[in-house]
């Protein structure tokens, strides 16, 4: 199998994934945005040479002089570059790549392509409801496909008829940093903050982050602000298009939430999950995958096509991150009640079992050490229930090469109420995450 390099260029970052016979090598970094056209050729040469050094492989041949500067060939490597269509420098990037190398396959990542990839992906993994959430500092996007029963339609990418899916999406684009900086004027973010910080300081922190973004941070203030920002933006997405989150995880079908974007690494996982749960106001049970390396955008198509792919053949083990199973039951109790609403046992065929409890008003995060040999046997008690689950159920942590390495029980009483100030939110967060630790 030929090695294959797939690159995805968003508004302000560039992600490269190299698939080879042993797995996938990954890299992501921020792009230089204000480059002139005359500088682009050297930029691409520098970028690809850096990837070579990072991964310890050579795939660029020596540049040859051409009328536009120089031309580069790729050796023993297929290469595809997908550029987000809404990137303001889209045309400049496409032209510069065409002038850089004739071996590059250049694609515009459009809404239609997004829809095709999602549908094929859902079919391959046998999910009937998939919600893709792209959390970006410059834009927010949510796309959802739901299986329409009894309907089969031909879809371009797969070359055969797939079960019919309906597609809907919602987007917020804020391309210029100056527009994003103005968002701080809005008071709604303050409702969701749990760390009090003077607004002057918060403006500086957020502004510095927007101008020089990073994929990770140790700043608690920024982590908290991004969490609140994600919640508010998702609420805005839902008000733009109410169908996007309606009845997600409620129907008795296999449901997947796929999260990607350059903001996913900023808050810690459980707070990221809470921001999405509360933004979409999700109840029910579903699977979550956090795609920090933009695998869906780079190799989603190839993965879905399987052996018919003209790029690379990827197995589930190569491609899929570990999944998280989320149970968010309805609980008929008074707010702030503290009672056990879930009791179960995480059995491990190769190790000790573990008792798991879910307390109302708390979120329990349970790690699964050996997903291949583990299953959860549990029941909802008192007034807690999930519509499509029986009260007593069994959940296997591996199924068809998909592994769940974490189970989250969101036993907060819905609807979740934030505010009126950061101190109150901080108390609520301490209560939500203050339960027994299973780590």
């Amino acid at each position: 199998m030929q090695n294959y390099l797939s690159i995805y260029i968003s508004h302000d970052f560039i992600c490269a994934n190299l698939a080879y016979d042993g797995g996938i090598l990954k890299d992501q970094t921020h792009i230089f945005e204000n480059l002139k056209e005359s500088e682009m050729a050297e930029f691409w040469l520098s970028y690809f040479r850096t990837l070579e050094k990072k991964w310890g492989i050579t795939f660029l041949e020596h540049p040859q002089v051409s009328k536009d500067g120089f031309l580069v060939k790729f050796r023993n490597l297929g290469c595809k570059v997908s550029i987000l269509k809404t990137n303001p420098n889209h045309k400049k990037i496409v032209n510069s790549l065409r002038n850089f190398s004739l071996d590059l396959k250049i694609l515009s990542y459009t809404r239609e392509l997004n829809e095709d990839i999602l549908k094929s992906f859902a079919t391959t993994l046998e999910y009937e409801d998939v919600l893709l959430v792209d959390l970006n500092s410059r834009f927010f996007k949510a796309s959802r496909i739901e299986k329409v029963s009894g309907e089969f339609k031909p879809v371009n990418l797969s070359r055969f008829a797939l079960p019919g899916y309906s597609y809907t999406d919602s987007r917020i684009y804020l391309q210029k940093p100056s527009e994003l900086l103005k968002l701080l004027n809005g008071l709604k973010y303050k409702t969701f903050l749990s760390k009090h910080v003077p607004s002057n300081l918060m403006s500086n922190i957020w502004s510095n982050f927007l101008m020089r973004p990073s994929f990770k941070t140790n700043s608690e203030f920024l982590q908290d602000f991004v969490r609140a920002y994600i919640t508010v933006q998702i609420l805005s997405l839902c008000s733009e298009n109410p169908k996007i989150g309606k009845d997600f995880a409620v129907k008795p079908v296999k449901t997947l939430l796929w999260v990607t974007g350059d903001l996913v690494g900023i808050p810690e996982f459980k707070k990221l999950l809470v921001s999405i749960l509360d933004g979409f106001e999700i109840k029910g049970s579903f699977d979550v995958a956090v795609d920090e390396n933009f695998l869906l955008y780079t190799f989603g198509r190839a993965f879905s096509l399987g052996k018919k792919s003209d790029e690379v053949i990827l197995s589930k083990r190569d491609f899929l991150p570990n999944f998280t199973k989320v149970f968010a039951p309805d609980i008929d109790m008074k707010p702030d009640s503290r009672k056990v609403v879930f009791h179960g046992t995480l059995f491990n065929r190769r190790g000790p079992s573990m008792e798991v409890f879910g307390m109302s008003s708390e979120i329990a995060e349970v790690p699964v050490k050996n997903p291949e040999h583990s299953y959860l046997d549990g029941k909802f008690i008192k007034n807690a229930y999930i519509q499509k689950y029986r009260k007593i159920f069994e959940f296997h942590c591996t199924d068809n090469d998909i592994c769940w390495d974490r189970i989250v029980l969101d036993c907060r009483i819905k609807p979740v109420v934030y505010g009126p100030n950061a101190k109150t939110n901080d108390i609520k967060f301490n209560m939500w995450f203050g339960g027994e630790s299973y780590f």
């Binding site: 970094t29 970028y47 310890g56 002057n200 300081l201 500086n204 502004s207 101008m211 994929f215």
Partner: protein, 368 residues
């Protein structure tokens, strides 16, 4: 390939951006606006040396500038409703320039002119009214060599020369015409007091030091400054400011690193241009062929080592420049020794390799 992958994991290699403190480019176009009616200038295609007169314009000098939005407490877009004079009108000393009735008309706030001169309302949208002198002739004497590429008699002159560029971190400047003037250094690491400022900054682009506060910016603008550079400023202050400002390091109170400050100090008094397209302050250094070959364009590095100069983009230590003292075994955390003598520990991902080209440039440019 599997062995290589394992090796990479052990070393914890990341791809870090390279931060170029000062960029250099050859054959740039610098736009010099005519601030007045052009009387004479060089022709298209003329080459010129340092000290040559580029053009002459009829110009009025700035005698005084009044920030009516601050003095009368009104929004900049409402200023014209309170100004009692029209554009170009002659005003005498102690005449009323603007008036606002308060307390239901019982009292009035007035701004009177301190000079005899001509009323200028060109900056009224920013909240300022200026008093200008009678017409005089002003020459623009070049401090660099170049070639005249184009002349627009209504707008200005476009010249070709080599430039050093100091990129902005952020600027609120949004004019398409650009700014051109002489560089003046007001302060270094200190924060100057506006009360100590007595001189005029007419025609100057001023570097105001480590931290810019709004009152200082307004005072400099009133004294004729065309553009203000500063290492840092609070974002909340900048967003409300109607003065063109360029921030070099970041938002907050962040000092400027010594390399860039040395660079500014060396070029004090010389002509500079502010380019919105490049997002940088351009320092024309004259046509020196061959210098551009010194600088290899690299955008990313995959290797940070002890002794490297780095710049932090971590929020807690944003914009700070220092030397790598230690890297943990897993390659994820880096100890950096800062210019002010303190130490920080930062994620490898939050560092940019700092490339300073100034020392090489200084040797070549100023020895020619």
């Amino acid at each position: 390939m599997r062995r290589l992958m394992i090796l990479n994991l052990i070393c914890g290699l990341e791809v870090n951006r390279i931060f170029k403190s000062i960029k250099y480019g050859s054959g740039h176009e610098v736009f010099i606006p005519f601030e007045g009616r052009m009387k004479s200038c060089l022709k298209i295609g003329d080459s010129f040396e340092k000290g040559i007169e580029l053009f002459k314009v009829d110009k009025r000098k700035l005698l005084a500038s009044y920030c009516l939005s601050e003095d009368l407490g009104i929004k900049p877009n409402k200023i014209l409703e309170y100004v009692t004079r029209i554009e170009g009108e002659y005003i005498s000393k102690d005449d009323v320039l603007a008036e606002k009735l308060v307390s239901g008309g019982l009292l009035s706030k007035r701004v009177v002119s301190e000079y005899d001169g001509i009323v200028n309302l060109s900056k009224s949208n920013l909240g300022y009214v200026n008093i200008l002198s009678e017409l005089g002739v002003e020459s623009c004497i070049s401090t660099f060599s170049g070639i005249v590429k184009d002349v627009d008699f209504a707008k200005g002159m476009l010249v070709k020369t080599d430039v050093c560029a100091l990129p902005f971190f952020y600027s609120n400047f949004d004019s398409s015409e650009g700014v051109f003037g002489n560089l003046k250094i007001l302060a270094d690491e200190s924060v100057p007091s506006r009360k100590n400022i007595q001189e005029s900054f007419e025609g100057n682009i001023v570097f105001a030091g480590r931290f810019l506060y709004p009152e200082l910016a307004i005072e400099l603008f009133k004294r004729g400054c065309k553009f203000i550079l500063a290492s840092s400023m609070n974002y909340d202050d900048l967003k409300n400011l109607k003065v063109p400002v360029g921030i070099l390091t970041g938002f907050g109170n962040i000092g400027i690193d010594s390399t860039r400050f040395d660079f500014l100090r060396e070029l004090e008094g010389l002509q500079v241009a502010v380019s919105l397209d490049d997002g940088a302050v351009q320092f024309p250094v004259g046509l020196n062929s061959g210098i551009s070959n010194i600088f290899e364009q690299n955008y990313y590095t995959v290797f940070l080592k002890k002794g490297d100069i780095v710049r932090s983009v971590d929020i807690e230590s944003f914009g700070m420049v220092g030397e790598v003292e230690n890297i943990t075994l897993d390659g994820k955390l880096v100890d950096v020794f800062l210019q002010d003598g303190s130490k920080i520990s930062v994620d490898m991902e939050s560092l940019e390799l700092y490339q300073e080209d100034f020392s090489i440039m200084r040797t070549r440019i100023f020895s020619i």
